[in-house]
């Protein structure tokens, strides 16, 4: 409620000190603690210049805005920037569909602290390459890629199915692939056996993976995001890639 002076100074007579002090006390109280956002502020009077300036946090590569946080990164396909995955940890069961071992991929993993409940929009794009597979029969083994995250001190990975995507082993494709893996060539089971050049096959498998996901109503706390790979090859990697996370406080 707006300030209202408790005492009106009369035009004549002796000035009462308490009148002045009373008005000042009321004024101090109003300015210091009683300005009310819903009644004292005008409507439709503020512009974007009144919003707090964005604040860049170089250590975490985050930009904090009033509306939320923006973070991310991108790299080109330099060898030192690649995010590799491998499957040596389950080598005996390299291609097992029932034993997923999820590997976090470098440079796709921001940690975000949410001050309040928020919606999170993540967009991702990458070139994926599955290069070496010597354990099992050659045949475009499917490495699954997914976004997942942990919250606070809980190490349980929460996978986001909206982001499910695949990276296929690059190999000579003259026969149908082994059973048990996702077939990138559809119902025919194999690419042409009559005249496809290897470069065409490689280019067909080395695809750009892209997705956007939305996570609604995330509770305040610490979140660790990453793109994970369930590797079915001994060497695969993301080359050029971009990862962007936008927090919208609700």
């Amino acid at each position: 409620m707006a300030y209202s002076k408790p005492n009106t100074i009369p035009n004549s007579g002796v000035l009462a000190a308490d009148d002045i002090k009373g008005n000042d006390e009321e004024l101090k109280e109003y300015v210091n603690q009683n300005i009310n956002g819903s009644t004292d502020y005008g409507t439709n009077v503020f512009g974007t210049e009144e919003f707090q300036l964005g604040d860049y946090q170089p250590i975490t590569n985050e930009y904090s805005f009033v509306s939320g946080i923006a973070t991310g990164g991108q790299v080109i396909d330099e060898q030192v920037d690649r995010g590799y995955w491998t499957n040596t940890i389950k080598k005996a069961r390299l291609n097992d569909n029932t034993l997923p071992v999820w590997t976090s991929i470098y440079e796709t993993s921001p940690a975000i602290y949410l001050e309040r409940t928020a919606d999170l929009l993540i967009t991702f794009g990458a070139t994926s390459v599955s290069a070496v597979q010597t354990v099992a029969t050659t045949g475009f083994w499917d490495t699954t890629l997914k976004l997942a995250y942990t919250k606070d001190d809980d190490n349980e990975l929460i996978f986001v199915e909206q982001s499910r995507s695949y990276s296929f082993e690059e190999a000579g494709m003259t026969s149908a692939g082994p059973s048990g893996n996702v077939n990138p060539f559809g119902p025919t089971g194999k690419p042409s056996s009559g005249g496809d050049e290897n470069p065409e096959i490689r280019n067909g498998l080395r695809r750009w993976i892209g997705w956007s996901v939305i996570l609604r109503g995330l509770q305040p706390g610490h979140y660790k995001f990453s793109v994970y790979a369930n590797a079915k090859v001994e060497e695969g990697y993301l080359g050029a890639r971009q990862f962007k996370a936008e927090v919208f406080y609700t």
Partner: protein, 235 residues
């Protein structure tokens, strides 16, 4: 310009009551309508913003299952993985003038069933059968019937094949012959921005649909997971 004025008195002046009252009255007047003139720049922090929905608002549709929707239509149809749920996001709001609507969309193409993949600029039957396309359609009304506009179309091909009229999958045995590598289990992703130029409160945005079509009805486009995310960037 000061909002609260203070009278300058000198020794020996006799102030009037009105003069002494004035600073308090000015405060009373100004405090009833605090605006950008009597607040500091950058003062609004997240703690000051109404909760929820004072800033950007998000609307979304998410299907993250494995059930494929088979598209064989040569005109755009709305994707529907599990009947009766279309891939659509409900908006139901009236935008202000020049308000921005941003849309992000992605999904996964599964094992499409491809019969013919002619890939040339020639007229059918040797036309562009290798292609399929997506469209984001915005439905709205201006107080009358629902109208539909396209926010954008995005085309993809079933195979890696480059041009030529003689390179295609044969219809006789369904196997690839002298063609590119079939592409399946790949993601699609696109985004669009739409600015509403009309008067505030005049138009109502109803929904956005994700639609798809093939260029040849003998080809089947299979789509599994997909999502639509719309961000209403409020003024």
């Amino acid at each position: 310009m000061p909002i609260v004025k203070n009278n300058l008195f000198e020794d020996g002046d006799v102030p009037t009551g009105a003069e002494l009252n004035q600073p308090y009255d000015d405060v009373a007047t100004a405090s009833g309508n605090i605006d950008s003139e009597n607040t500091a720049d950058n003062w609004i922090t997240i703690a000051h913003v109404r909760n929820p929905g004072a800033l950007n608002q998000i609307y979304d549709f998410v299907y993250d299952g494995n059930t494929a929707d088979d598209i064989t239509s040569t005109s755009y149809v709305t994707i529907q993985n599990v009947a009766p749920n279309n891939s659509e996001v409900a908006l139901n709001y009236s935008p202000d003038q020049f308000e921005i609507l941003r849309v992000e969309c992605s999904g996964l193409v599964a094992n499409s069933d491809v019969e013919q993949t002619y890939d040339s600029g020639a007229a059918p039957p040797n036309g562009d059968r290798n292609y399929y396309a997506f469209r984001l359609a915005l439905f709205y009304n201006d107080g009358g019937p629902t109208t539909q506009i396209s926010l954008g179309e995005w085309g993809y091909s079933f195979t890696t094949m480059a041009g030529g009229t003689s390179r295609y999958l044969t219809t006789s045995n369904g196997l690839p012959q002298n063609t590119g590598v079939p592409l399946a289990y790949q993601t699609f992703q696109f985004s669009a921005v739409y600015m509403y130029p009309g008067a505030s409160g005049f138009r109502t945005f109803e929904k956005i649909e994700l639609q798809a079509k093939v260029n040849y009805s003998g080809n089947t486009l299979r789509i599994t997971r997909n999502n639509i995310i719309a961000v209403r960037a409020r003024r």
